[in-house]
């Protein structure tokens, strides 16, 4: 060695100090408190309010909003705070099997935080939604998951004004936003263009009108009814231009057909990219000739073989067979259903939203994958 490190004038002092490292650490241990270790921590407790996980909730109130839409208000067992626009997953026992679906929250963030209440507003359409409409009753116990999704205002990148475009039951996240703006838990200006078929189909009209302020404005647009009190037709670029300021962010929530129309209108206005946000819709059935395959599913050390209809997703096949498997967005984007493909062929509905390494190591999102052959997959455990 070229040189000798010496800090003390007498090099042996350096050695002495080294020898003391262990006794020093022992002494620090000796001097420490023997008070019981904390069971939890403040930050972790706040985290639980932001992400409470699956919790039991009691259905406290059901109100009819329109002829085919009801609001279900739950009493939460844990406090919750979220961003207006987010959704929760609702789980219930339907004829002996566990079924769950994501629904946008229609109540305000502070109602959940301060009163422990949360509402979803559901239109009668689809398996679980129909079941809710016809069967759910006050006093029922269901399970509500974490507030999820990114369909909320993002102050750092969004314009000061949001033009909200709601189609049909796509009104729910905006109703939450309008209340949030009024109560101060969200801070932006919302101009809401709300498309409904007829006057009768407008949900929350009275409530929305009462929320109108400098920061919230609502314009109703009827597609199937001519009515002088409202705008008529579809939500076109002309209509957007009529109400929107110079710079704005578009947030849209509605059926696929509305998005297809809107995309063209926005493109013609030169608006896109970072200024447009659309809430995803759950993956539905595909239109192909029916075939039924065998699906082998590993959950921990259990193995099941179930039937899979190629017109429905792999997730639905597992749920139909009564398996408890994870899901959240049911649109391919959240990765919550992430499962390892052992063998078999499949097709993805819409864009592939998996991570790069998932493709490489053969992971799939069952919520947006249709079986094209017999398949074998390893799935994380679902709700328990």
């Amino acid at each position: 060695m070229a040189f000798k490190f010496k800090k003390q004038i007498f090099g042996f002092m350096d050695l002495l100090r080294f020898k003391k490292l262990v006794p020093n650490r022992r002494a620090a241990f000796d001097a420490a408190s023997s008070a019981p270790l904390p069971k939890t921590y403040k930050v972790n407790e706040t985290a639980k309010i932001l992400h409470p996980g699956n919790q039991k909730a009691r259905l406290a109130e059901i109100t009819l909003v329109t002829a085919d839409t009801k609001t279900y208000t739950f009493e939460l067992s844990k406090k919750m705070f979220f961003r207006a626009g987010q959704y929760v997953e609702l789980t219930a026992d339907v004829d002996g099997s566990t079924v769950n679906r994501p629904y946008a929250i229609s109540s305000s963030p502070l109602t959940s935080l301060r009163e422990g209440k949360l509402s979803v507003t559901v239109k009668k359409a689809g398996f679980f939604s129909n079941w809710l409409f016809d069967n759910a009753k006050v006093g029922d116990e269901m399970i509500i998951g974490d507030p999820s999704g990114f369909f909320h205002y993002e102050g750092i990148k969004d314009a000061e004004v949001v033009v909200g475009i709601a189609g049909g039951s796509g009104i729910t996240p905006f109703y939450s936003m309008a209340q949030a703006i009024a109560e101060g838990s969200e801070d932006f200006r919302l101009i809401l263009l709300y498309g409904a078929k007829t006057e009768k189909d407008i949900a929350f009209k009275k409530e929305l009108d009462a929320l109108v302020s400098d920061n919230f404005k609502v314009v109703y647009v009827l597609s199937d009814e001519k009515n002088k009190k409202y705008e008529n037709g579809f939500i076109t670029k002309e209509l957007i231009a009529k109400y929107a300021p110079e710079d704005f962010t578009v947030m849209a929530c509605g059926p696929q057909a509305m998005y297809a129309f809107l995309d063209k209108e926005l493109a013609a206005m030169g608006i896109g990219g970072r200024r447009v946000k659309k809430e995803a819709n759950c993956v539905g059935v595909r239109d192909v000739k029916k075939a039924v395959y065998d699906l082998t599913v590993h959950i921990r050390d259990d193995v099941y073989t179930v039937k899979a209809d190629n017109r429905e997703t792999v997730l639905v096949a597992m749920e139909r067979a009564g398996l408890r498997v994870p899901s959240k967005c049911r649109a391919g984007g959240c990765g919550f259903c992430h499962s390892k493909l052992v063998s078999g062929k499949f097709s993805i509905a819409g864009a592939d939203k998996r991570r790069l390494a998932d493709l490489k190591f053969g992971y799939i999102h069952p919520c947006c994958s249709y079986p094209d052959s017999d398949m074998e997959i390893i799935v994380p455990a679902g709700l328990e």
Partner: protein
């Protein structure tokens, strides 16, 4: 009841490596992870057209096939290196500090580093050469210690690695001062300190210098498909070796027997797994505080004695312009107020006063990591106190935006690059996010702080003494090797192999 030779709790970096080591040692192994994917912090997530890396800035000590670092050697032994596509990080770092008006960009390679430093700080060469010589010897001493499994012979240490022992008890600053390193060179050299999360009066020189020399001589690496690729590769390997991996499976209790040793693990659904050996990839605070019924008073004291290291905050940006268009020239930026690390450490205690950031533009290492015409950045800071505990839930989203805004402003001011109007996607992780995601106390991402008394050296010297419960060992950021990817991997390697030995001895 199901029975395993060993159960690993948590599939973070430490847990994944430990599981492979157990299987390689012939143990029937179950790895349980509370999330639906492996990796802990080592993961990625998608937003729009971007796939963000969740944590890894650069993997230290990996090197290339012909200049392999210790992590590569470990990965070779585990059988995972070739399952992953690797990239090399182009340069060491750019450090900007306001108080000293430093703006320096340092390259990898010892000679290049020393030369560049001399150009910034004329007259620094001699002290830098000495620094590297010392660091080299420290690394050699560590290799010797590893080769004898920590049972070092004092005579060998004193004759072969005397400098290691002589500087072994000193802090970074004490040694650099003894080497008569000019202040400005010290300031530039200390830029990596926030990666270890203790200031340079506390931080052990052995620890810091062995990290720096690994960076500078081996370069830094990155998996192409983000750290999710490493985590999935490890799971693949565990399954190849016949191990079981259960996701969405939280361990809630470690059951002990009459001898106080491990008898089983209870899962959240109430199922119990019978085992005499557990490797916990979570903190002793959680394990002893919540997961075990009877804990010896000495263990409680030892756990109470430790200090939590930094709580994390990260902002991820997907930008709709390329790095070139935005003028982002570097892969890795450290932005400080001051290079007085004690002062800086204090400023990092509150949300209000902390402006430090370690920022990465991944496109500078891997241009194709995002679509053409776009780029991706992530900005990380640490909080050196529990200030986020003061944030009320109703203020949470506002505070999050406040910090994110401050980070963007700081980056724009210090580098002159304008990024705000190009933000297409943004995601922010706070201590609350980390507290939820990995479950660590206070949202810490760095394990226990490497304070002077609890630095790397005394921890290694007391490894045997710290093991107090039969059948229970720790891996990951809260175990003996401190935090960071490489350290977490090494800790998994050591505890995995130690547990194989335990199983042979104790059954």
């Amino acid at each position: 009841m199901k029975k395993y030779d060993a159960v690993v709790i948590g599939a973070g970096n430490g847990g994944l490596v430990a599981a492979i080591r157990l299987l390689q040692g012939g143990a029937k192994t179950l790895l349980v992870e509370k999330h639906n994917i492996p990796g802990g912090f080592a993961t990625s997530f998608r937003r729009g057209r971007f796939e963000f890396e969740a944590s890894l800035h650069e993997l230290n000590d990996f090197g290339t096939p012909d200049n392999a670092g210790d992590v590569r050697v470990l990965f070779d032994q585990l059988g995972v290196t070739d399952k992953i596509e690797w990239l090399q990080i182009p340069e060491a770092y750019r450090v900007i500090s306001r108080e000293e008006k430093i703006d320096a960009t340092l390259p990898f390679g010892k000679q290049a580093f020393i030369d560049k430093m001399e150009s910034y700080v004329p007259g620094s060469r001699k002290s830098m050469e000495k620094f590297f010589e010392l660091a080299e010897e420290i690394r050699a001493a560590q290799a010797y210690s590893n080769s004898v499994n920590g049972q070092t012979d004092q005579k060998v240490m004193l004759s072969e690695y005397a400098n290691f022992v002589r500087c072994g008890s000193y802090s970074v600053n004490e040694v650099l001062d003894a080497l008569k390193m000019p202040k400005r060179a010290k300031d530039i050299l200390n830029a990596y300190w926030c990666y270890l999360g203790a200031h340079c009066d506390d931080l052990s020189f052995l620890h810091y210098s062995s990290m720096v020399i690994r960076y500078i001589t081996k370069g830094a690496a990155m998996p192409k498909s983000r750290s999710h690729e490493i985590s999935l590769a490890m799971v693949e390997r565990i399954r190849e070796l016949g191990g079981d991996v259960w996701f969405n499976t939280e361990a809630v209790k470690i059951r002990t027997g009459a001898d106080g040793g491990v008898e089983g693990v209870v899962l959240k659904n109430g199922d119990e797994i019978q085992t005499r050996h557990v490797i916990a990839n979570c903190s002793p605070h959680i394990v002893y505080g919540r997961m075990m019924d009877k804990v010896d008073e000495r263990i409680v004291k030892e756990t109470n004695a430790r200090k939590f290291a930094g709580r994390g905050f990260t902002m991820f940006l997907g930008l709709n312009k390329s790095a070139d268009e935005l003028g982002i020239t570097n892969h890795n930026y450290f932005l400080y107020d001051t290079m007085d690390t004690v002062k800086q450490y204090d400023l990092m205690k509150t949300i209000e006063s902390n402006s430090v950031q370690a920022t990465v533009c991944l496109n500078r290492a891997y241009p194709e990591c995002s679509p053409a015409g776009t780029s991706m950045m992530y900005f990380t800071t640490l909080y050196m106190s529990d200030d986020w505990a003061n944030v009320k839930p109703e203020d949470y989203f506002k505070v999050k935006d406040y910090v994110a805004n401050k980070m963007i402003e700081r980056f724009e001011q210090d580098t002159g690059c304008k990024i705000r109007d190009s933000i297409e996607e943004i995601s922010v992780a706070t201590p609350m996010t980390y507290a939820r995601y990995c479950g660590h106390p206070e949202g810490g991402i760095y394990g226990y702080e490497s304070q002077y008394w609890d630095g790397l050296m005394p921890r290694l010297l007391m490894m045997a003494e710290d093991h107090k419960t039969r059948g229970l060992r720790f891996a990951g950021g809260f175990s003996m090797r401190l935090s960071g990817y490489s350290s977490a991997y090494f800790s998994g390697d050591i505890t995995g192999r130690q547990t194989v030995g335990d199983i042979k001895r104790e059954g």
